[in-house]
Subunit: 134 residues, 2 copies
């Protein structure tokens, strides 16, 4: 599967969880204008998502990608997340807030172990939100 | 200019006004999944926009388009607007809330005169919002 297919799968999952979802694939048009891969909203909970997958045990995100995601999210009024998928690990998608990424040089990264410890599952994203109202 | 070019122009205007903008062109991929043409956010003010242009004095929007826009917006937590451009009129973009559209049969519409009376300019969209905080 290509990266774009993973984006589509994640978008579908969010949609089934009740989110209104917009995908903004970079589509090779050159200017990406700070857009995240996915922006999704559910009754005021708004998340801007950059999708990353790997077959290894550590996921890397370029400095520029992280900065753009954070900048876009601040401007839009959304919470930024890196959605990580460790292929072949059997683990579901995990949402990682950029503040938990480890920075080294011009690259941010997170290991499978760290991700599984601090990552948020898609379902708990909603439960957290529901919890705020209960 | 094609419809897609007008979408791009409007997206650029919103961007210059400080919005984080995502365009979701239908791209002929078939399933449009309730997506609006543009979703834009600026410090918590979030708008979902369907773009319509005409060379005539009345703009029509299909029932399905309006329903999808309203449904998406409710789910996302955005305010729905039809952005109308009366080409050749010299008038700037006007944002029309769906509740102001006139319904006849399976079609919604608004005339140039009605639009200029109740439409919101892009600039006043921001000023209104600022007003809420002042």
């Amino acid at each position: 599967m290509r990266g774009i297919d993973y984006e589509r799968l994640l978008a579908r999952r969010l949609s089934r969880l009740g989110f209104a979802v917009v995908r903004a694939p970079s589509s090779g048009s050159g200017t990406k204008m700070d857009r995240p891969d996915i922006i999704a909203g559910r009754r005021g909970l708004i998340v801007a998502i950059e999708v990353k997958t790997t077959s290894r045990r550590r996921i890397y995100v370029g400095e520029k990608g992280v900065e753009q995601l954070v900048r876009f999210s601040e401007c839009f009024g959304a919470t930024p997340y890196i959605a990580v998928k460790f292929k072949g690990s059997g683990m579901d998608w995990l949402l990682i807030h950029p503040r938990y990424l480890k920075r080294e040089g011009g690259t941010y990264s997170i290991s499978l172990e760290e991700a599984s410890r601090i990552g948020i599952t898609l379902e708990s994203l909603i439960l957290r939100r529901l919890g705020e109202y209960s």
